[in-house]
């Protein structure tokens, strides 16, 4: 099995999809000659030419808006937003245009575009380059949202996103680009919209996604050493949301924690906790617990940055207290 990084897997997904479908174009800042701020699109311009790998001026709203127009006229564009923190710049084109065009126009046309971006902490990038803004996307009807945590999912979810009929926001995690895994890309793949159960345990269900999966798995190992066995669910896509998998395991186990890097209040963890509480109340031994980002901006100081988001220790401690 080849060893691939998360970045390599993303690049390969783009290259394989572009080779198959001549209507796929990449458009964004530095995606061509520079190769992407994090190197994901490295050399794709050599392989596919400047008409399909399009370097743009620094104009995020019109990058996303151009992708909308291209998607409506027969292309399958991949717009790249260098940091998810720039989402606010593009929110009109994303939330008022891409997300609503199918609906507003009575189903006449869809907007099959992918908005690739990356977010999260881990590089001391400061308050405007480190956020986890997936809740903005999840709160907007009409958008799909994928957040791969593993190298295999970086490949497969991006490949799948490039066949979807509706706009997909695809948020990578900046701290995962150099992560390596041995992956068999020919192994069977879960269908789009299906969560993955990464670990089975009888005491507690932990629901998470993106980089926090790795912290949760680390915490689960610590907990196992103390005799606590956790089931870990990696959502993979937040829209579609595979609540059936969550329900099945929470009803069996009776305890649930939700872990997210995004700010706690009104975030993804809040939505998941509310749903679990409503739908699985009769099966719960105690309230659903959220472990999420602090309600503060992210600092550039490594210590403050790390302290602003959940880590393995907090996750393990919290689980231990839930079972005490």
């Amino acid at each position: 099995m080849p060893e691939l990084t998360y970045r390599d897997a993303l690049r390969k997904a783009l290259a394989d999809s572009m080779a198959e479908n001549p209507d796929i174009i990449l458009i964004g800042e530095e995606v061509g000659r520079y190769g992407g701020a994090y190197g994901v699109t490295k050399d794709l311009i050599k392989e596919f030419g400047p008409e399909r790998v399009i370097d743009t001026p620094i104009s995020e709203p019109s990058i996303v808006g151009a992708a909308v127009g291209a998607a409506m006229t027969g292309l399958r564009p991949v717009a790249e937003l260098m940091y998810v923190d720039f989402l606010g710049m593009t929110m009109d084109q994303l939330a008022n245009q891409a997300a609503k065009i199918r609906y507003m126009f009575g189903g006449q046309i869809g907007v099959p575009m992918v908005l690739r971006t990356q977010g999260g902490t881990g590089r001391s990038a400061g308050a405007q380059h480190s956020q986890s803004l997936e809740a903005y996307v999840m709160h907007t009807p009409g958008l799909r949202l994928a957040m791969p945590a593993t190298v295999a999912d970086a490949y497969h979810l991006l490949r799948q996103a490039l066949t979807r009929p509706d706009p997909v926001v695809f948020i990578e995690h900046k701290a995962l680009y150099t992560m390596k895994e041995d992956v068999d890309l020919d192994a069977p793949v879960p269908p789009w919209g299906k969560a993955a159960v990464r670990r089975h345990g009888k005491d507690l269900v932990i629901v998470t996604y993106s980089r926090q999966l790795h912290y949760v798995m680390e915490a689960a190992k610590t907990l196992a050493a103390k005799g606590i066995e956790a089931t870990v669910i990696d959502l993979r896509t937040l829209n579609p949301l595979d609540f059936d998998t969550i329900r099945e395991h929470v009803e069996r186990v009776g305890r649930a924690m939700v872990v997210s890097e995004g700010a706690m209040t009104a975030g993804v963890a809040a939505e998941l906790a509310a749903r679990i509480s409503e739908e699985c109340f009769d099966f719960l031994e105690e309230p659903v617990i959220r472990v999420a980002g602090e309600d503060i901006p992210i600092s550039v100081s490594t210590g403050l940055e790390t302290g602003s988001v959940p880590g393995p220790q907090l996750i393990a401690e919290t689980a231990g207290r839930m079972l005490a």
Binding site: D23, I25, I27, E51, R52, I54, T56, P57, S59, P61, S62, V64, G65, A66, A67, V68, G69, A70, A71, M72, T73, G74, L75, P77, D92, Q93, N96, Q97, I101, R102, Y103, M104, F105, G106, G107, Q108, I109, G110, P141, G142, R144, P165, D166, P240, E278, E279
Partner: protein
Amino acid sequence: MSKKSNSDLLGLYRTMRRVRTFEERVGELFVRGQTAGSMLHLSIGEESAAVGITAAMKPQDTFTTHHRGHGIFLARGADPNRMMAEIGGKEAGYCHGKGGSMHIADMSLGHLGANAIVGGGIPAVVGAGLAARHKRNNAVSVAFFGDGATGQGVLYESMNMAALWGLPVVFACINNQYGMGTRIDQATANTNLHERAIAFGLNGESVDGLDVEEVAEAARRVVDGARAGKPGFLAVSCYRFYGHARKDKSPYRDAGEEETGRQRDPVAFTRARLIERGLTPEADLDTLDAEIGAEMDATIDFTIAQKEPPLASMFRDVFDPEEPEPEPVRTRLNRVLATE
């Protein structure tokens, strides 16, 4: 100016009259309480822009419009019954009652959609221009917007991209002098709007919207230039005869200004020219106007007779029809609160 044939000018007049009369009937539908809401923005006084520019477009061309776009869509060949039904929020409308006046669209006519965000539809034509180049289909994409949108950053981003990449794109600014209640000279220091486009490297022209033949000529230059690889910008100067939306009585401008402005009437101007040049007898124009009046009267009767969209249709078309619809709140509540 080049000599136009009788049928050319009469054709332009006919389409302008249809736009004018349609808009008047929209006003009537509103007064009769049959429109979905009051956010109706009439293009009366701006007909030459819609008609002159669409006359320069080809069938494969695409376009986006703004919130004051009824005239453009009608001039492009829309069915006035389906338009009026959409404005009435009826199932038989172009968007089955989900879009309305400000979100009307028809892919078969290349109408990529009207937009209720000022400037919101502009960047889409850059993407449509990229697609046209990629597919080599010789299509031009035109963004229609008002002078108000010249305050939006996306216009300049998009003009820059179009010029940089030599895309078959046209930016069509219908300068009706007002962004809601703010006159153009209260919103910008340099009101020669086309100069901005020239600065970005586009073909840029301004034209007086009183004369539809001049608009059509200028549009032909700009659209043909875009098709040949040099994007363009055309500002058409006209006067918004009525308020911003149906309930706006324009208290921010005085009666004298409105009276003068309404004398710049492109429909009346063209009608007088047809008579003056001896191209069409006045009696024939009277007959034509009456026919158009009857056609547009019928859109009101059609709309009133149509059904409201069924309630369950609200969950349709959030996503592709092959995908599950979002679960209705009531269904979820019944599921969550169900007793054993």
